[in-house]
Symmetry: C2
Subunit: 354 residues, 2 copies
Amino acid sequence: MTNSPIAMIKEYFGYFADRLRNKKATFVLVIATTDVSLIPGITIAGASPEFTHFTPAADAEFLVTGRVYSMNSIPVSPTGLPSPVVLARAANELLNFPVLVADAGSRVKPRIPLIDLGGEPGKDIRVGAVRKEVAEEVLRRSELLGKELSKETDLLLIGESVPGGTTTAMALLQALGYDALGKTSSASPDNPKDLKVRIVNEALRNLGNVSSPLEVAAKVSDPMLIAVAGLVNGFRKDVLLCGGTQMIAAAALIKAMYGNEALSRIAIGTTRWVVEDPTADALGLAKQVGVRVLSAQLEFSKSRYEGLRMYDKYYVKEGVGAGGLAVTAMANGYDKDVILAKTEEIYSGLVNRA
Amino acid sequence: MTNSPIAMIKEYFGYFADRLRNKKATFVLVIATTDVSLIPGITIAGASPEFTHFTPAADAEFLVTGRVYSMNSIPVSPTGLPSPVVLARAANELLNFPVLVADAGSRVKPRIPLIDLGGEPGKDIRVGAVRKEVAEEVLRRSELLGKELSKETDLLLIGESVPGGTTTAMALLQALGYDALGKTSSASPDNPKDLKVRIVNEALRNLGNVSSPLEVAAKVSDPMLIAVAGLVNGFRKDVLLCGGTQMIAAAALIKAMYGNEALSRIAIGTTRWVVEDPTADALGLAKQVGVRVLSAQLEFSKSRYEGLRMYDKYYVKEGVGAGGLAVTAMANGYDKDVILAKTEEIYSGLVNRA
């Protein structure tokens, strides 16, 4: 564990923050749904299990437009805590990176310019998440997109919005040979680990014969993870995977598919809430995979909004690229107070509208 | 009429070539279909009327990947002449701009990362091309896309692939008050002007009450033209509209919707085959609209391929952004022989494969 020259960022297992400074960058948000999110109790990334399938669409709409078209407001937890999209949008208002949204397979389509990667919504991992030929198509199209973006962009940031995604991440990590049961994070401080492990174990029992990491991912993970691997492989330059343990699973897939060259170009950018999550082991997973982690040392405990103060109590934690965007904002000179103030400004617009 | 310092480009009604040099640029191909292309005899942008609905998808696939997924090969005319995508891809291999494909409404979806602008395939303009609310959605999303791209791109190039699009362009120009009957170009040297004028007149008779230029475009043109207007408005910086008389119609719509400020940022980039087309009056239309035209002074008459030599006999002429990409390649130092050699290289790959 080391401190970055910029004390706002903690770097683990290597240095990467310098590679985030003054770059021509593009942020790609990859969205998908998985029917895992419909399992009662597995996620709070939505007001109810059914609403979790609207979360990626609403996150994407708000990130790009500052408005939501597919529902009444931004996604909230069952107790009304706001989606991390408020933090993601705040950080990107500081950075002003172009935002593109790519759909790897989601049931509700956001009403914005939406890049179709040829996917399908992820099914429950116990019955097989994505058909093999669909996974191959998502991978192929994502590689093409990464390649086109590399022509004018030096740094690619990739975020995700996939409710239920820490369970599919656990399944993928475990299936790729890592010791991951019960170690991925959660949007809730009451991480429902027993339930997740039960689902993952059942999925792994049904895995059957698989001949490649892609096939493993298709069976037991979600379409987003496949798209992220394709983007990284097509891009060929530095990539910050903006997210928590879901992005560590993406890194594991990237390593399995493309080896250490690809791993050398990537790092995880997330929040300290993920890194410090007492119910998970993000750093242990990252160490197993061998991927660098950058943590944005955010502090929301003194926010004037209860909904944001709860972030410091390990609610929400991460998503929609929030952590990686915050890391990148910090690497480019914005401190945690500026990021909080921007986040409050955005959140206040929502609270006042409601 | 004036000659550019670079003799390969002719500039009309103003100068723009300097603004194409050494820029961070992105090329967006906007695709759409219109049922006008199903009218027998109206277009040769496809081996048969039915095949014209595959043309945009196949053009897009070949431009991005160098392969075609939706049909056996690139689009051809009924006598086998190759789509201008061979020229477009050649010019962009020299420029190496990122290519994004945006779908404003097409029946066949290319199997590449495809940006959904929320449109629908254009219907026959005699019955109303696009519903008003769909036109508004396409416009809104296109503006969002243009805005995001403007964050890291200084110059936007926009191309199109819309078989039947010179008829919808004629209808739009005429409906916006220009003297356009029989003046738009064609992929054929035997421009079926009488047929086009008949269709256009019928569409204009059925126009009914319309209260805005957008509504006019929705009724009698095609989804691509609306998307181009939105992109230009969202982008707020220089745009080269890569195409012939279809893009002059787009410029007319842009002028009607956004006024002279928007017009001051755009120019048409096309081929001399469009400018010199004896069956049309591209320059006369551009002069009426008040938009600059840049012409790539290409010469394919000595090509070793019959299919490309026919371009110099006013077959094909333009499309998929070919002319504007050639203009931009010339502005950045590639001469017509280099562009022809590159085009032959790409065409030879197809001929040998077939």
